[in-house]
């Protein structure tokens, strides 16, 4: 168990939250995208996190991005007959992105990121406190 293992674990958490924020940014950026490489409207992306095996205190552990999955929610059908992507009935399949949900996810990702930074700072404080052993 290295002295920096908790910092490395927190670093993995920071990375995971960054990945989540990337996905959220992607969702918001594509909230009105009707064309994708696979055809059809953009589908909301979600990051799945996986715990890295390792007991606490053994020096390993952390979190990793398992994979990014696309939401299977049905697309929003918007009536827009003039749109080139409209179907025969005049409906356009819009991405299943809910801006409110994205904003809430953004808050949780930001706060989780901050929490990981707090953990790093706590580890740093503990290390510098350890250096004070025997002082004064």
């Amino acid at each position: 168990m290295g002295n920096f293992s908790s910092i490395d674990i927190s670093a993995s958490g920071l990375f995971a939250q960054r990945a989540r924020l990337d996905a959220i940014a992607n969702n918001i950026a594509n909230a009105n995208t009707t064309r994708t490489a696979k055809g059809g409207p953009y589908r909301r992306q979600e990051v799945l996190l996986r715990a890295v095996s390792g007991d606490a205190g053994s020096g390993s552990g952390g979190v990793a991005v398992d994979k990014v999955v696309e939401s299977t929610d049905p697309p929003k059908m918007v009536y827009e007959p003039g749109n080139p992507d409209a179907d025969s009935a005049g409906y356009v399949a819009m991405p299943n992105v809910n801006p409110v949900q994205e904003m809430v996810d953004m808050i949780t990702a930001t706060r989780a990121y901050e929490a990981n930074i707090q953990a790093v700072n706590a580890a740093r404080t503990m290390a510098s406190k350890a250096l004070e052993i025997g002082k004064g």
Partner: protein
Amino acid sequence: MKIDSIFSQLPQSQSVTGSQSTGVTSSLSGSSSAGSSGTSFGETLKDAVKNVSDLQNGADDMANKLATGEPVEIHQAMLAMQKASMALQFTVQVRNKVLDAYQEIMRMQV
């Protein structure tokens, strides 16, 4: 991570200083054994300083990459710098302890 090796070194250095001091007391008390086997303190300190230097270089590298726009996560760079700074503090602390021990010996009345 290389930093782990510095910390595995450092307790060793403490035990080296520790065994040196017991070596002194034991030779004072008439025993023949003095000093210790294993790596010398100089070697240990050199390794430790080298490891700190490696960490500092890594942090510098990260900062450079960040400044030149290479894809480096900000937190990675910050953590590298933080680790380098912590390792340096740790080494300085060990150096202080060793210097204290040395000066204590040098103050001895002959």
